[in-house]
Symmetry: C2
């Protein structure tokens, strides 16, 4: 069960770069190179974020992308919703004229509760929070020592 897809993954990492270089435009090319993402794929992700008002862009030479929203107002939950659709544990389990009274369905209650918990957890994790952690440790991507294996 994979919770974050590549798009969400790339979005988070791109936002971390944009957050670190706030105020200047960063090109898709440089993000792709630095973070080792497929260029065109990343561009699609960036465009989607523009449409949702998270970032802005500037065309032409010296153009690129810049963070628009406050980093603390961008939660992983929102990114998941943008790239993977709303968090829903299950479609209603007993569809097709079987489960009429939703308020009495115990499964639904249990499921909606979990939905909330999961959703809240992701909401807590904001780009701002991650950026501060990065600044504190100064270590998003430490260099690989000889012989060491990446995870």
């Amino acid at each position: 069960m994979k919770v974050l897809t590549k798009k969400t993954d790339y979005a988070i990492r791109a936002l971390l770069m944009l957050g670190a270089k706030r105020g200047s435009y960063v090109s898709a090319k440089s993000i792709a190179a630095e973070q080792d993402m497929p260029y065109q794929f990343l561009r699609g992700v960036l465009q989607e974020m523009i449409r949702h008002g998270l970032i802005v862009s500037k065309e032409g030479v010296q153009g690129g992308f810049m963070m628009e929203k406050d980093a603390d107002d961008i939660g992983v939950r929102q990114l998941i919703e943008i790239f993977q659709g709303r968090v829903q544990v299950s479609e209603c389990m007993f569809r097709k004229q079987i489960c009429a009274n939703r308020s009495r369905c115990v499964l639904r209650h249990e499921i909606m509760r979990i939905e909330q918990v999961v959703s809240n957890e992701f909401e807590q994790v904001t780009i701002g929070k991650l950026l501060r952690k990065l600044n504190a440790t100064g270590n998003l991507m430490p260099a690989l020592k000889d012989g060491e294996e990446p995870s």
Copy 2:
């Protein structure tokens, strides 16, 4: 973002039936009919649960499936792991020789924490717990009143 796939969904519902009729063998056919699941697909799900020791079967006429494990020892978390693989928020985000020191990676920490929370939530929801709720309300699938739409 769909958290439970059909297989897991069907597995939960089949187990609820088996749990309710503990001690006797219930055929795949009757489960499929009552819960409106595709017969052969359900059988695959049931066989997988046999392999994992959750249920047992008896072949031939009057055969079927019966719950083996204690219903309180079957959590949705285990079902997810069986049918959708281990709960993992993301593969390591900075692979390919970039992220060497896992213990210092803030993203990894945040991600592993969420992984735990999500995992625990699903662990709490056991078939036994659901069954008791069903008994309390007596209502897994209330009949549909005229004109009412299912969820």
